[in-house]
Amino acid sequence: MKTIAIIDYGAGNIKSVTNALTKLEQKFQVVKSAIEYERFEADFAKFSRVILPGVGAAKFAMNQLNTRGFTKILQNLTIPFFGVCLGMQLLAGYSEEGNIDCLGIVSGVVKKFRNFRKSKNFSLKVPQVGWNKVCIMRKSPLLEGITDKEYFYFVNSYFLPVNGENLLAKSCYGNDFSAVIQCGNFYGAQFHPERSGEIGLKLLNNFCTKC
């Protein structure tokens, strides 16, 4: 079985993704730097896929990706890539979280949710925390077997606006935002599939076996 690279830039919860991959019986290798990534490929075999789990703040993450030499590797990937939560946002050109240039693989600027007060009895908290409905806009191997309007688990203060070209699924929190995107071999989900129960594991499995 081919090996999936898990990018660890030192911000935290790699464990929930590796636990999910273990459950799905996928082979993976956590790599902490470009050197580790390249050494693994030289010593063993080429990676089949890359997952960038996202926890933490965009600025810290981008600085770490740069320092650890990952930026070039990710930008030049030709194998399937999956960015989770912040990992998806980092695909954008720019993030307003810390005002930092990101990987620039998909167009768009990552923005912060507005505290939205519609009436005295209705306001939105930021961050968005919880299970939100995901509306599928386009077919993709990543979404195979997943029905429209399923719930997935989100924790985010920032979002990637809906972009016609790359949008696979959207969700709504004050405004519509990108829930799942695809740009060529680059996939991303704003929610945490590894934290979205069985349906989340299914999506993750789709990435590992169908993308």
Partner: protein, 490 residues
């Protein structure tokens, strides 16, 4: 989907044409400014203005009026009609117009379009395509274009046009059904579609939701078939986020326990098995609190966290005895999604900021234990054993400012009593901060949860013994919530 009311102008007046025919004109108002103001008052977030004299003559005849209108309303507007020169675009954009719509000129003169896009960017330019029976129309819908639709779409794609306004001219102003297939067809080329023509009902609007980023509404609004206020309320996105039901597992010595008012501990099971059970039952999240940790200065059981993380794939928070950044890192690395800080946050408020900066505020939950002392809600620490200097509002506002992502608010007075959540305390806190608040302490029946959301304005509600002893099943509770008009994940 953005709802954009249209104001079409002929000779300074607000009119509607039927199928683009200047002879079939109806004047709706002599004052386009007041029409615009009424739309904005009804809640419109964007306006669509067309200079119909301009469209016919090729010159921006009503430009001054439109610029006046742009300054008059405080929502963004898009303008079309008679925009055939770069200087006209520049004048509109400089005056504060958000985007300009290019029609005939963009279709007939690709170089003009290219220049406009390179000068002003794709966000400022909308290309309007008028389609009649699958054919592209130009010159105010009078002539069909030389180019066919597919070729034109590919060409527009190649020069990076982003926004397309698509009008089925056979439908426009006729109050027939919109052409959903056409919108979908154009969208599949990768454009953001602004749909126009033939939209008369909420059903029509819903039918366009998948294909269209926005819709322009004209006649249906003017003739009163659609009420702008009502459709905005029904259709404009607010949120589809659900309320969370969270079982809390208080852990001591590797077992789940729940005390009444933090004393009298009872054994209620193995944490890993219980967590698995709750995940299957539909718990939205789990919270593990090492209740003895603060009192005894003991660290939370990392091994339990590791075991739980391997077995369940819904989020969970771990709290109790979290004293510094190392503790937080250790818990996150063990597989926890969030960490709850209590006593340490009160002792060292800067810990909240440091943790939020390093791990993201979304994984930093501040647990706030509150008890009424005299007539003041005071914050308690060390597992409820010690009164702090803070009153509740002062403290929750401070932790929000310091970067906390969520507040877990426990009423110690209610905890274990099953008399219901302290709704007064809950509402006070929930409406005073802009981060999510989890209600805790006192749940006894299903109505208590409903009240926590509807009256207390909580974002999530937590209970322990009620779930552990099977008094209320999570599934049943969620069904009850949905029947009470509170959306939960079923």
């Amino acid at each position: 989907m953005l709802i954009i009311p249209a104001i079409d102008i002929i000779n300074g007046e607000c009119v509607r044409l039927t199928q683009g025919d200047y002879d079939r004109k109806e004047i709706y108002s002599k004052n386009p400014l007041s029409v615009a103001r009424d739309f904005v008052l009804a809640g419109a977030k964007f306006l669509h203005i067309v200079d119909l004299d301009g469209a016919r003559s090729g010159e921006p005849i009503n430009q001054n009026l439109i610029i006046e209108l742009c300054n008059f309303v405080d929502v963004p507007i898009q303008v079309g009609g008679g925009i055939r020169e770069i200087s006209t675009i520049k004048k509109y954009l400089n005056a504060g117009v958000s985007r300009v719509i290019l029609g005939t000129k963009a279709v007939k003169y690709p170089d003009f379009l290219k220049e406009a896009l390179s000068l002003f960017g794709c966000d400022k330019i909308v290309v309007a395509l008028d389609v009649k029976d699958g054919k592209l129309m130009v010159d105010g819908w009078l002539n069909s274009a030389r180019e066919d639709l597919d070729y034109c779409l590919l060409r527009l794609k190649a020069v990076r046009v982003k926004n397309l306004m698509v009008t089925d001219v056979t439908k426009d102003g006729t109050l027939e059904k919109p052409n959903v297939e056409l919108m979908q067809y154009v969208r599949d080329f990768g454009f953001e579609v602004i749909a126009a023509g033939g939209i008369t009902s909420e059903v029509d609007l819903r039918g366009l939701e998948k294909s269209s980023q926005a819709v322009v509404l004209g006649k249906a609004l003017y003739e009163g078939r659609l009420d702008l206020k009502k459709i905005l309320a029904n259709l404009e996105p607010t949120s589809s986020l659900t309320k969370r039901i969270i079982p809390c597992l208080d852990v001591k010595d590797g077992r789940v326990v729940k005390g009444v008012n933090f004393l009298n501990l009872k054994d209620a099971g193995d944490p890993v098995e219980l967590a698995k059970f709750y995940a299957v039952e539909g718990a939205d999240e789990l919270v593990f609190l090492d209740i003895s940790a603060s009192v005894e200065g003991r660290k939370t059981m990392i091994s339990i966290v590791e075991k739980v993380a391997k077995e369940i794939f819904v989020p969970f928070t771990v709290g109790g005895g979290v004293g510094n950044l190392m503790d937080i890192r250790e818990l996150l690395n063990a597989g926890a999604d969030k960490v709850a800080i209590n006593s340490a946050a009160v002792a060292m408020p800067e810990l909240i900021t440091e943790a939020a900066e390093q791990f993201g505020s979304q994984c930093i939950v501040v647990a706030v234990d509150v008890r009424l002392v005299g007539n003041k809600w005071k914050v308690f620490v060390k597992g409820g054993g010690e009164e702090s200097e803070y009153e509740v509002l002062e403290w929750v506002k401070k932790v929000e400012k310091l970067g906390a992502g969520e507040i877990l608010l426990t009423s110690m007075d209610r905890d274990g009593t099953r008399r219901g959540f302290d709704l007064e305390l809950l509402k006070l806190v929930s409406t005073s901060v802009r981060i999510p608040v989890i209600a805790s302490g006192g749940a006894g029946k299903m109505e208590d949860f409903r009240d926590a959301f509807q009256i207390g304005r909580a974002d999530a509600a937590l209970a322990a013994s009620l779930f552990h002893f099977g008094d209320i099943s999570i599934k049943k509770l969620k069904n009850f919530m949905n029947l009470s008009n509170i959306s939960t994940r079923l």
